[in-house]
Amino acid sequence: MQEPLGPLFVPPDAPDRFWMLIAVVAVPVMVVSVMVMVRGRLPAALSTMALLLLPPFAYVLGDINLLEESKTVKFCGSCHETMSPIVTALHQDTETLAAIHFQRGRVSHADACYQCHSGYGIWGDVSAKTAGIMHMLHTVTGDFDYPLKPRATFDIDSCRGCHAAATNFRAVEAHQDPDMQQLLLSGEMSCTAVCHPAAHPDWALKGATAYAEQHR
């Protein structure tokens, strides 16, 4: 990674202390679990608290933490074989839509993937999280092929969330055409590939192994 030129160029840090809360709940549960394993039994009240009530609470905290942290580009890029070339392209590519947005700071560097792929509003969040769980399932089962392709039409509400009210977006003649608007809103046509460049370069969609072989 490039060295920052000074403190002005370092994004502000949002301190994350959520892990402390999780540890405060999980560690006592583990201690009592070990005691139960060694002794075989403990007072009913202590066992109930440590084995029945606190663990689900700890997992709810863990789920919340994971939901929040899984929005980050770092998390997306951690699925090394499939996603790391796409994250690399955000930094290196100069022609594709995601890289242009990323390098110009039009999307947050912390959660750029999530901003564009989550749709708009709360249902966008829900569909993104559902899709994320399905991605995990595809990763576990190996149910995916290269080059990676979207399984559904890209939800352009993500684009419209930022661009709809922008004056330069409204000024474009093609955007004002009612037929074009209908095609875009119905999902028959996408912003990318026809008028705008593809979201990600082809080389980034073929996996880390293919990327490494290309750049050997």
């Binding site: 009913a44 084995l51 699925c79």
Partner: protein, 70 residues
């Protein structure tokens, strides 16, 4: 024995929770979702059964003297 197995499952599920908390990445998230959650559910179910059996045993043991006095 059942209480020990329940405690072991809960212990491992907590380890997985701590792992995903500190090593937030795709692999640990997969482990958390597809191994941690099922382990926790099974662990809690076993703990409930163990606790219920123990309470039933203690109740039965507590009632024996009183029924013997009758």
């Amino acid at each position: 024995m059942m209480a020990r197995v329940a405690a072991l499952l809960v212990f491992v599920s907590m380890l997985i929770l701590l792992h995903v908390t500190f090593a937030m990445n795709g692999d640990s998230a997969i482990l958390f979702f597809f191994v941690g959650h099922p382990l926790l559910v099974v662990g809690i179910l076993l703990a409930v059964i163990a606790l219920a059996r123990r309470l039933a045993r203690e109740r039965a043991a507590g009632q024996q003297p009183s029924s013997g006095q009758r």
